[in-house]
Amino acid sequence: MFTDNIQGKMKYIGGKNEYAAAARTADHCPNFKLDEEDEMVADQVRSCYNCRYRRWTEDSFICCNPNSV
């Protein structure tokens, strides 16, 4: 669900509203870290959308975990 963006960071290709896919992706991610409650936007707790390492962009987010591949 990720692709390299122009800065070489991992950009999520599902956009901002693919809740089920973002939950599945986080389920398989060993680096998932839950963000503080006020920044959570998905009802599925374990979701890339709720992860401390996601950095929102205009149309999606990039994964900022240094161990992401």
Binding site: E36, E37, Y53
Partner: protein, 247 residues
Amino acid sequence: MEILIAIDDTDNLDSKGTGELAEEIAVTIRKRGWGNTQGVTRHQLFIHKDIPYTSHNSSMCFRAEIKPEFFEEIKQFSQEYLRKESADGSDPGLCIVTIHELKNHEKLMEFGSNAKKQIITKKEAYDLAKELGIHLSEHGGTGQGIIGALAGAGLRLRGSDGRFKGGINLPKDKTSVQVKELKNYDNLNEVMSIDGQIINDEEYVLINGKIKTVLLNHRAVLFVQPAETEDEGARWENCSKQYLRRF
């Protein structure tokens, strides 16, 4: 006297969030007898590749009714607190608005609205703060956080933006609550359906998870939608995080 305190850009990926720092400043104001505070609100600002931010570009603000003689102490404490507690690599900014001295409310509110849709420079923020008589200070890094701090104050002043930090946890065995009981909680003034209907005090709401409210027309509003299945006499249920995201 009434003031607004807003902060922004105090965190990094591993630190406490900006909301937590705002809450701690508010708690100190109450504990030291400097005044009373209202809930902290989170204001989403513009997401753009040319704007530096840690992960979400949101600003935090609260309103306080303080004893005027403590204004300087509150300002000094807040500045020192940001210097001490802000994370490495962050660019913290602090804004304090004394509402009765504010020279032009509309200009500050407009600044807040603009910060949700366009890039704004530090110079523009400092120029406006000077013109309106607002305290604006930076406490490390590039100090870029002053832009979000000023914007957060403007959005809070407008009274229709952002979600309240934290929320209300009901006892585990309680799932259905009457509106009039809900309105006894802090940061919950009104229950409203997603099409704008005020829900009357006698109705019941099914509560899933934590109760989260948003700032709308200067009120803390709990949004509800028709319940999927009517249970315990409740025709309504609280909206999901996904719905509240728009605030």
